[in-house]
Amino acid sequence: MRYALPGCNRRSTMIIDTDAPGHSAGEAFRQYEFNGSYDEMFRSMDLPRKQYRPLYTQLLSLGSDDLRRSKQEADQSFFNQGITFTVYGSDKGTERIFPHDLLPRIITAAEWETIEKGLTQRITALNLFLKDVYHDAKIIEDGVVPAKIVYTCKHYRREMRGIKVPRDVYVTVVGTDLIRTPDGKFVVLEDNLRVPSGVSYMLTSRRVMKHIFPALFRRCRVRPIEHYGQVLLSALKSLAPEGRTEPTVVLLTPGSYNSAYFEHTYLARQMGIELVEGRDLLVHDNIVYMRTTFGLQRIDVIYRRIDDDYLDPLVFEGASALGAVGLFNAYRAGNVAFANALGTGVADDKAIYAYVPKIIKYYLNEDPILENVETLLMSDAAQRDHVCQRLDQYVVKAVGESGGYGMLIGPHSTEQQRSDFRARIIAEPRNYIAQPTIHLSTAPCFVDGTIEPRHVDLRPYVVYGENITIVPGGLTRVALRKGSLVVNSSQGGGSKDTWVLQN
């Protein structure tokens, strides 16, 4: 196999000999078009980036039939393992497999180092911010973040004022969404500090990919992620109330009808902890128990995959049957720990997001390593007017939403949608922010028998235990529809395995 290496002047007459004659570069990548976004694989056509070269070679030597077979094999494997998510609102076949793309997304050791440092810095600062906001609120007193923005936040929880959380860790699990701008830099698009999901797809898709591309794995030297379960379990254990040396940790799920139920069962199994529902729990004298056939068993740490509002009908949503009566009092008494703590949503509010660079500077006296996307607050009159006149150029988001709901993508919107959003913004300015439309980077995907570029983002999972750990990898989400910029699984997105390379 012979390659003309990038940088040498024979580029225009690049020769590619492959092991399987008959497949030329033209065939595998015939449909590959560039649209001005940063492309993860290619500097330009015929010039793959260094980290992608083994994959590139492999793709040239495989016909689309081989790829199709591999794809089928992968899908079958997901299906058999029951790696599905529930689609709300459809009656039949409510369980679907998570759309998965065959080709890995590859990140170099150097790129990862920046991401790792940047996220560690960001999460440290946001955790300090949460502690501050729920105690002395110095950051507000010092005028760095306006009181109005904090206290009008939908996810601010007054009940958390003055409560000491174990080891001052508010956010045990974080899934931060990063995107790559056209100049190749990673920037933060969104922080998810409440109940981020998707990590089971990261773990299971790795297993499937190892099976499908074993040789490529060896050649690329991909860093492992399989220890995520151990990392998470030890972080959860570190929250146990004092004196509980053999703490009982459980995962609290809303139940089998929840869209992420597969993930809940998967993580519980990976950590060897009990998967409980609200109806299994009861609180007596501010101690939380689960009902077992042995009798009642005390619980020390709850990894809850239920939103704040549904945890305790005495304190929050009164009609909720998902949580248990009295949980919050047990929490306040320090007899049980929640991961994540309650009220963390105030720090991933999209209006607070605009202040994160200042928050980092305030608590750590450092410049942010990972930048934000430029964000305009609609509560600010001048910025609002500016955006409302140019809605076709902006992405508008509701501040408290996630999952791609409550969002307007200006360039892809109709006049009707824009005037609709304009009215909503003017009615509730605090509830909206706007960001310029950013072209997420593209990565090669195997779609309908050919390889085409699709937009991707990256969600690494940060675990805050004794210290902050980020398993090298994450969920690369793909907007599978051509040209689409929305990667959320609820909106037709899929995922890719993410390979972080060894130095």
């Binding site: 029951g82 199994r269 998967l275 529902e277 007596h284 009902r291 056939t293 009798g295």
Partner: protein
């Protein structure tokens, strides 16, 4: 083990056994109907429906639709498809507790049975479903026994299976013996095959079909899996294993109930039972199984909180 999980495993298993039982009864009944005999088609179906659909007066059974009612009636709580659905739904709640092989098999069976989309007059289609369930049941029992740890969860599965079986066999015996006088050899073959017992019976008692011997075999035979006594013995074993683990408290009532049930089939001869009132005898077994179910529920699943704090 979480009480909710134990409860789901128990019900998964009961529903599955119920579907399995129904498929055998329907198959045997269908076989009988194809032969000309004293009993009319209506009477046959009436017998099957009253053995399977509990609590129904069953008098208004339309013979044209009886097969559909038992196999695929979407509204019928006791139809085979409904029972498979019930088993799957319970399994879905505890997917992390059962093996993936069990889940995959049950899931596949569910889709196969539900995908059939039967019309009410499609007898052949209905019988295909029956066959799929019967075959599927043998496989499910095998997978369950070989792919999970035989710990507490497995014992709850066993308990569910055998308590359902003990009740079903008692009801079935009662329904055949209530018309004993007019029954002929073919009917007794029907009863035996409803319990997968024909060949086993022949091995033990030869092919001579005597009602008393048949009752003895299905009721008191300790070594045949589809006999009441066998089922009660297995229940006893499961209950003892569970209570040994739970170091519990208050299992006295359960021990008393299962002990009494077992002695009713162990220290008795079939002659006494038949000469006495078989119907009352069988009804007592069913009643005591119900009490036992309630006691298990009270001790392991929905125990009052005050009791839990006493210990």
């Amino acid at each position: 083990m979480l009480s909710r999980v134990a409860d789901s495993l128990y019900w998964m298993s009961r529903y599955f056994e119920r579907a399995d039982n129904a498929s055998r009864v329907v198959e045997a009944t269908y076989g009988l109907i194809l032969n000309p005999a004293k009993f009319s088609t209506e009477e046959r179906w009436f017998q099957a429906v009253s053995a399977l659909v509990r609590g129904s007066g069953a008098t208004d059974v339309d013979p044209q639709h009886a097969l559909f009612l038992l196999v695929a009636e979407p509204e019928g709580v006791f139809s085979i498809t409904k029972c498979i659905g019930g088993a799957r739904e319970n399994a879905r709640q505890v997917r992390e507790e059962i093996s993936s092989e069990m889940w995959e098999h049950l899931n596949k069976l569910y889709h196969e049975v539900n995908g059939a989309e039967l019309r009410p007059d499609d007898d052949a289609g209905a019988m295909r479903v029956v066959n799929v369930v019967r075959e599927g049941a043998y496989r499910f029992h095998g997978i369950t026994d070989t792919t999970i740890n035989h710990g507490e969860g497995w014992h709850f599965i066993q308990l569910g299976k055998y308590i359902e079986r003990a009740c079903n066999l008692s009801i079935l015996l009662d329904s055949y013996f209530s018309v004993e006088k007019s029954a002929d050899d073919l009917d007794w073959v029907g009863l035996l095959s409803s319990c997968s017992a024909f060949e086993a019976y022949c091995k033990v008692c030869t092919a001579e079909l005597k009602p008393e011997r048949i009752a003895d075999f299905i009721l008191l035979q300790p070594e045949f899996p589809y006999s009441v006594r066998y089922a009660l013995d297995r229940m006893h074993h499961a209950l003892t294993s569970i209570s040994n683990r739970s170091l519990s408290r208050r299992t006295g009532k359960i021990e008393r109930l299962i002990g009494r049930l077992r002695s009713a089939v162990t220290y008795v001869q079939i002659g006494e039972v038949i000469r006495g009132d078989l119907h009352t005898y069988l009804a007592a077994i069913i009643e005591q199984c119900r009490d036992l179910h309630a006691a298990v529920h009270e001790v392991y699943i929905e125990y009052p909180i005050e009791v839990a704090f006493e210990s």
